[in-house]
């Protein structure tokens, strides 16, 4: 038996897969003081006697600790003159129009950012040696102030780790109990702020994550010993590895959802899809090609929705670890509708969240939200959702939309509700465009995979706006992230700086560099109990024209007869031409080598998941209700059906109700479910 559990801001989703492939699911409120106990109770309930082979966990513990300033007290040692870069963050800000913006507090207060007399130059040579006595004095001071961890990040240490290693030894001698992270080990990549920020985030999370995992393992030990953690890159690692590299866990939950979509796409043989995850406050999109989600080499923590910041950032703390390239915007079911100074209708970024929540939940919310609009439009069940556990008050939603949106704009309440959904869709479109057109992909060649509680409700309309003609609604869309946990492989990523023009590159330097990374990877995976022959490697290189500010990351797969330099030159020129339309006869620099090591874990078989076990959606007796589809299609008496009622294609309008989500099929779409419960929506005429 394997157990996946995803702890989100509001709910904890639990999926238990027994050895016969049956699924048991549960959704419980996330209460931080009960982490572990609630999982244990759910596992107990699902299968009393069977041992659990592995727990796979997605969690927001790491991102919450950074965002809420609850990471461990941490010191930073850096080169003289540079301690304020961690706070200034390149002097950027995320929104050029907002004079009320406030920067997140620094990860380390200035008093604990200490400067060391030393200097390494831009070619890696040491200009000014380290003064051990000064280092010791600064370390003693930090220890006296009560730090639990020290990050060391020196200028140009990505090229020469010697000073950092010496400082690491000095700290170990003085204070062996302290957590120490060196930038040359955590992330040896050029750009001092990003590297320091990454190192600090990792150091400051280690004490927190250790305590958290100790507690969790204590609760789960009686069921099984193996606890695995989802990383931002969509791979899993052991709890022991997570204790060393907690910075890899930041985007744990969202990555699991994307991974589920990727596995689903592989299984259904969909070469090009966009995943679309819509929750209460944000919506997230990711591009998936041939079953592989697009990745980015880093991101920001704590910046909120990334849309206005994706050019230069500045909203959050930089974190350079491989992430699935998920674009997030501030629009979700809880987004509040309002009218701005110019008289335009807006939705979000303010959200009613789970508390008080939308007006229709009847828990004190008074401002109309996107969810209220969906209820008024007849898309969501007007009396109860979530397997009848959450009561819905349509009249209250209607009254709020009428008073706060319709009347001020001189619109009919149905039109106003439709407007709210359209405006929220416009924001979500920006996320979908960001992962497609902005990355040079034509969305019309892609299918959409919506999930999250609200995703399947908006999917068809969003798809049509982008020219997408097919939407695949996977099984268990409301628990998709927890499901994704049980579908992941082990994965670790490694980087090594080269920073040489191709003309200066020794022919064997690349092979030697990759060999060193491979040795490191095999040692790490062996510690996780994975045999060397089970490991698959992928090699990549970061290249740029000498003058450029950003690199392109390309696969490194030369034929044996190729000269390495010639291969790198040709593949970079070709990639640049494809990305930007031209190439230049210019100096090309090899910036870094990247190695990805993966090994298969026991995984769920996706075939038949939808129909298996208790999670099988019940067949609804057909009913109907009035639903409004905008001025184009108007008001329709709309059949309400279950997924299993769609084994023959039916035309919209339809509302498909499931325990954990609602799917809206507009009048110009059709819906069809196969025997496994794979529901597909098609735009009519396609």
């Amino acid at each position: 038996m394997r157990v996946g559990f995803d702890i989100g801001g509001t709910f904890t989703d639990i999926v238990v897969a027994d050895d016969d492939g049956r699924l048991h699911t549960a959704k419980v409120l996330s209460l931080l003081d009960q982490v572990g106990a609630d999982i244990a109770a759910a596992v107990e309930h699902a299968a009393k006697e069977a041992p659990v082979a592995a727990f796979v966990h997605g969690t927001t513990i790491a991102s919450n600790a950074v965002i809420e300033g609850k990471a461990a007290p941490t010191g930073l040692l850096t080169t003289r003159g540079f301690r304020d870069e961690l706070e200034m963050r390149g002097q950027r800000r995320p929104n050029v129009f907002d004079a009320n913006w406030n920067r997140l507090p620094p990860l380390v207060p200035r008093r604990w950012r200490r400067e060391i007399e030393e200097r390494i130059l831009g070619d890696g040579s040491i200009e000014h040696p380290l003064d051990a006595r000064q280092v010791q004095a600064e370390v003693r001071r930090l220890v006296a102030d009560g730090v639990e961890a020290i990050a060391v990040s020196l200028i140009n240490a990505y090229l020469n780790p010697r000073h950092e290693a010496e400082i690491g030894r000095l700290i170990d001698q003085l204070a062996p109990e302290l957590v120490v992270c060196l930038s040359s080990e955590v992330h040896p990549e050029i750009r001092e702020y990003e590297r320091a920020s990454t190192t600090v985030i990792n150091a400051s999370l280690i004490p927190i994550v250790r305590r958290y995992l100790d507690n969790l393992e204590g609760h789960l030990a009686r069921f099984g010993q193996r606890l695995l953690i989802m990383q931002s890159n969509g791979g899993i690692m052991t709890a022991a590895a997570a204790r060393r590299r907690p910075a890899l866990m930041i985007e744990s939950g969202p990555a699991a959802g994307v991974l589920a979509a990727a596995r689903f796409a592989q299984h259904a043989e969909l070469a090009r899809v966009i995943s679309f995850d819509m929750g209460g406050t944000t919506a997230k999109a990711c591009l998936i090609e041939n079953g592989v989600p697009l990745e980015k080499p880093g991101g920001e923590v704590g910046g909120g929705a990334t849309m206005t910041t994706r050019l230069f950032g500045g909203a959050g703390h930089a974190l350079r670890v491989p992430w699935l390239d998920i674009v997030e915007v501030g629009a979700g079911g809880g987004s509040i509708a309002w009218i701005d100074e110019g008289g335009a209708l807006r939705a979000g970024p303010r959200s009613a969240g789970a508390d008080p929540g939308p007006v229709c939940y009847g828990r004190g919310g008074s401002e109309p939200t996107v969810t209220d609009a969906n209820v008024v439009l007849g898309y969501m069940n007007p009396s109860a959702i979530a397997d009848a556990t959450l009561r819905i008050d349509r009249q209250a939603a209607f009254a709020a939309i009428e008073a706060k949106v319709a009347r001020p704009l001189g619109l009919d309440p149905l039109q106003a509700a439709h407007g709210i959904v359209q405006v929220a869709n416009a924001t979500m479109m920006r996320a979908l465009r960001a992962v497609s057109t902005e990355r040079g992909r034509d969305p019309r060649q892609y299918a959409l995979i919506p999930f999250g509680g609200a995703g399947p409700m908006h999917a068809a309309t969003l798809a049509e706006n982008l020219g997408i003609r097919v939407v695949h609604v996977p099984p268990h869309p409301g628990l998709f992230s927890a499901l994704g946990l049980l579908l992941a492989d082990y994965r670790h990523d490694y980087i090594r700086s080269i920073a040489l023009a191709l003309s200066e590159l020794q022919d064997d330097a690349v092979a030697a560099g990759f060999a060193a990374l491979q040795t490191e990877a095999l040692a790490d995976l062996a510690a996780e109990g994975i045999a060397a022959q089970a490991v698959r490697f992928q090699r990549q290189v970061d290249l740029k024209y000498g003058y450029q500010v950003t690199e392109l990351t390309l696969p490194f797969e030369p034929e044996s007869q190729d000269s390495v330099v010639g291969y790198l030159k040709n593949s970079f020129n070709a990639a640049h031409r494809q990305a930007f339309g031209y190439q230049r006869d210019d100096v090309i620099e090899l910036v870094s080598l990247r190695l990805r090591a993966q090994a298969a874990a026991d995984k769920l078989d996706l075939a038949g998941i939808a129909g298996a076990g208790k999670g099988r959606p019940r067949r609804l007796g057909e009913s109907s209700r009035q639903a409004y589809f905008g001025p184009r299609f108007g008001l329709h008496e709309t059949p309400v059906v279950g997924r299993w009622d769609l084994q023959r294609s039916r035309s919209g309008p339809l509302v498909v109700e499931e325990p954990d989500t609602t799917v809206v099929v507009p009048p110009n779409w059709t819906a069809l479910s196969d025997a496994a419960g794979h529901l597909t929506l098609h735009l009519a005429g396609s």
Partner: protein, 578 residues
Amino acid sequence: MHGPAFDPILVEVVKNELAAITEEMAIAIWKTGRSAMVKTGDFATALCDGKGRLIGQGYAAPFQLAFLMRAVECVVEKFGEDFQPGDVVLSNDPYAGMTHMPDVAVITPAFWQGKRVAFSVAYSHHTDIGGRFPGGFSSQCTEAFEEGLRLPIVKLYDAGKCNEALLQTVLANVRMGEEWLGDVEAKIAGCRRGDREVMALLDKYGPATFAATCDYLIDYSEKAVRRALAEVPHGTYVHEDLFEEDGFGSAGVALPLKVTLVADGHTLAFDFAGTAPQAAGAINLPISMTTATVLSAVKGLVDPDVLTNAGFTRPIRIAVPEGSLLNPRYPAAVGGRAPLFFRVMDLLSRVLAKALPERVPIPGEGGDVLHFTGRRQDGSEFAFLDIFFGGWGGRPNQDGIDGVAPMAFGSYGTIPAEVLEREYPIVVEGFGYVPDSGGPGKHRGSQAIFKQWRFRGPGRAMVRTNRLSRPNAGLAGGEAGALSRNVLTTAKGTEDLPRKAHMHLHVEPGDRLYHVVSGSGGHGDPLAREPHRVLTDVLDEKLSLEAAAAQYGVVIDASRLVVDEDATAALRASRRRA
């Protein structure tokens, strides 16, 4: 199709789509641009409708949008209907919407089914534009002819065909021609991206709805501005300042700047009568930039998402005496207009603060620049540019922000030291806060920011510095931030450099330049600042014990590092009596 009625939903949807397009344009430019200026973010993108009216707000600061708006009008005035698919128009004319010659705009018309429906616009600051001084933004020129090559709205491509004669002429006149051309190519790639995406919008909405939506977007901005202006108390507000720079760093210069603001509930009228006549040096602000600065200041009063466009400007009146510092006559030199731009931004904030004291912050300081050119050991040319910022001044309800691009700027950032040290013969020896330098106030202004460079090769350097002799003042009882400084260390010793806005130097290997961008003013009475905030600044070594007492009247026990409540109360009481 849609009639002329305002559609509150469509306007929001299309606004979002246009914003996404202009962001995509910006990303294409940033990733492919060649020069340090593009890397640091000194560029902007926008979209205009077929009539040349701004409709898409992308990656741009309000002032950038405001002058681009005028620059595209000038393009349409010049060419009328004479646009073909494949045209690429260049302009850097400070007397036709642009603001100094190193800023070169690329404008491309977009066609849908043979009809002109839009213009894509991108400008960036080039490393050079020819002329007497490398960089083209020295204040020491006295006529436009010295400042570089003026491109008076010309087609680089005509119906897809490159004007080779023009290109060769440009490349024969600018330094670092390869880099110049690389940046232009990046902007063309960005505009082509914009053209394609606009055509896709037309496919979706059709020309009638698209045109109607452009009208809505313009009306919508007007409504938003009028609603905001209705909240400005009626009255006449005046603010005056003195500008200490004539372009040559002459001693004792004090040029009057004056603005009179009249608010009547419907319009805001800004009159700059009383401002000094234009200067001989290149510090003048061309009218396009003065207008853009005013619109940028008004933008601060309106919802951040409201677009600066033709509708936005309708309720705003701007009068600037011809031949003045803020509306010079051709061929006055304007290349070094940035310091005056910062000062006028500050002037406008302070006059608006008189009308709306609860809302308007001190915008803050920055935009200092080191420009360094020469040859590497291998003989190759380089042009290094480092731009960096002070921070935000105190705000009515909260502190300013230390070390961030000022409010009036776009989303600029600084280039990492490690990147600079790989590409240029330079070592960065530090970049951070100067203690005791933030303007004291209930809400403290940003600290001063220092940066120190060591030159590893010989070359020509120019450092642009604001606030060398007149500090950034406080507001509402707050006090000024510390002054800017330049200190040069050579084999001969260490000296404070003269207080010139644009300082030209020959540097030798091993020379060091220590530069400080001034602190920003504080907001509100420093004696009203909560003592625990003062203590936090002391613990963080942003404030010394002495400055805590002198600036804030807060006494901190030096051994226990806690606030001495009694001594603080006594000190503050005696200060208030004094």
